[in-house]
Amino acid sequence: MKAADVELSTRHSEAVVNRKHKRVSRVMWRDFIWAYLMIAPLMLGLLIFYIWPVFQTFYFSFTTWGDFGTYQWSGLNNYQQLLHDPDLLGALTNTLIYTVLAVPGSIAVSIVVAVLLNQKIRGVGLYRTLFFLPAVTMPAAIAMVWKWLYNGDYGLINYILSLVHIHGPRWISDPHLALYSLILVAIWGSIGSNMVLFLAGLQSISSVYYEAAALDGANRFQTFFRITLPLLSPTIFFQTVVSMISAFQMFDLLFLMFEGSSNLVVNSTQTVVYLFYENAFQLNNKGYAAAIAVLLFVIILGVTIVQFQLQKRWVHYA
């Protein structure tokens, strides 16, 4: 052993001995200080840019703002306004519809795709890359391309439909349809990243189960529903929790596709975070926006807690 290592291990056995005496020796102190020094830059950044703003948001939800950053305490006014805001009700409904359709939709499609791409077929690497491409594409680029695909008069989708004599609807300028068109794009965009996680989950399933099932004469559907899905359920649970948290916060795709659109479309698609953005930066009601953010935090926390309680029922940890 090298001299330095001997020294280190001596110091550590000293430390162990000293721990029994419940006294922090100088040696341990030095180690602690080094540790804190190493993580100091990251902790400072986290504290200043993440933790502190959370407390600030809670504080600001009790204030009213004027122009250019002047604000004053207004107690529970913002929360009372929340209860009577029709825009908020609409935004909550839209967010709920989006979450209920996009999360199960994208998880279901991703599982199927992952199962299909878990085989050793020729070109499987290419297919996996193609499916994963939307995850590495700029949301602005995705929005721009889909806006043109969806264009009611000159878009590619309606053009193809017209070739088979179907008059395509106004995908993103019809207020009734716009939200669902957005959900389709969101599902398409999330297949890739979900699929990668499910592939990892699938490959961790021991082949012993599949062999046993084959011996028992199970067909592919039975294998999928009785073996694959239950053993994949921890990954599904993780994906559901994470996807729900991010679905409740849907903003970027919506903003890029519908900002500047006719007000009717914006009203029928705006989500809670979009309402937050509108209030915080366009209408300059930063106090009210902070209250919206707090409300969203409570909702997501509640949903996540419920999910964790429910996991005992359907998640099988092997």
Binding site: W34, L37, M38, A40, P41, L44, G45, D67, F68, G69, N151, G152, D153, Y154, G155, R170, I172, S173, D174, E259, G260, S261, S262, N263, L264, V265, F281, Q282, L283, N284
Partner: protein, 417 residues
Amino acid sequence: MKRTFSLFSVVMLLALFLSACGSSQSGGPVTLRYAIWDKNQAAAMQQIINEFQKAHPNISVRLEVTPSTDYWTKLQTAVTGGNAPDVFWMNGPNIAKYASNNVILPIDQQIATDKVNLNNYPASLVALYTYNGKHYALPKDFDTVALWYNKTLFDAADVKYPDGTWTWSTLEQAAKKLTNPAKGVWGIAAALDSQENYYNTIYQNGGYVISPDQKTSGYDNPATIGGLKFWVDLIHNKLSPSLAQMTDTAPLNMFESGKVAMFYAGSWDAIEFGQNAYTKDKVDLTVLPQGVKRATVIHGLGNVISASTPHSTEAWEFVKFLGSQRAAEIQADTGTVIPAYNGTQSAWVKAFPQFHLQYYLDELAYAVPYPVSKNTAAWNTDETKILSNVWAEKTSVDDGAKQLAQQMNQVLAQEQK
């Protein structure tokens, strides 16, 4: 040795982190940030900057272009965060808000010291950028609105080109002849745009948007409602694309693709039409058709200095140059916008000889100032929200206008407090 190196690296990391937080300029050359919102004007602004930098070697200016839909949101956030650009564009709807909150510098002292002659600019523009008796900006340009038409489509439908004799009914009749559903062509685009579309027809019908004392809304006035009805009728009679169609595809793009035969456009669009491959040889313009009377909305931008700039002397030098005759000539020669400096406008008319740009200047005789109040943005939002439903034919014009008048009066009442 290992310990010293580790300590050194941690200290360096911390120092790097802390230095990234603040940036300091230790004297020497000054850099100004100049924020604008029109990419079509970026070339002319850059030319002005280049000439300014030659004359002032120790000042360099960085041009920042933000799309107009995001400009005010981004600017407000920047000002609140203490990161405002040193010099930026200002318009009529926002001058009162920025001046009353003291986030822009009054320039009376500098004007007096450097003997800038305010008579070189139209009096109404100088007044527009005066607040509580103090001047905040040197006028940059002014704009009016005209009727642009597609000569090819007019020829194909065998309709005479629009001219100064046109009235609202002439336009409607022409639009009927020009609309061709089989070819996907409409007579005119009834865009939901205040400055370029419905403000003009409101005044042409004898109505008004806001009372002269800025205390009451004009939207419940029957003449105003008539001005709005002009556009809704065009949509209703299918002479214009519907609001949904104009949401999918911008009316400007429709005009530039030969899908609409007529388009109301501000003088700032001349350079866009002059450079666009389709429109540059197929379109022309004339004065707006007459309603009960002739009217067009006139507005103009100004250049202001941020109150938080660390380089107010250099910023003033730049603003002074931006308001000079030379800068006006550059704007005119490139056909970018109609400059505000007296006597430089004729160069702009000659910039695109294929267009009769002179009509924009002829309209000055009956131009109405763009309607503003202390917090214009608040009721502008109401306008867009409520008139969207009217344009989409979900609400009748009467109901929508009365609702808008009510909300606008509430906002105006708040301003008085």
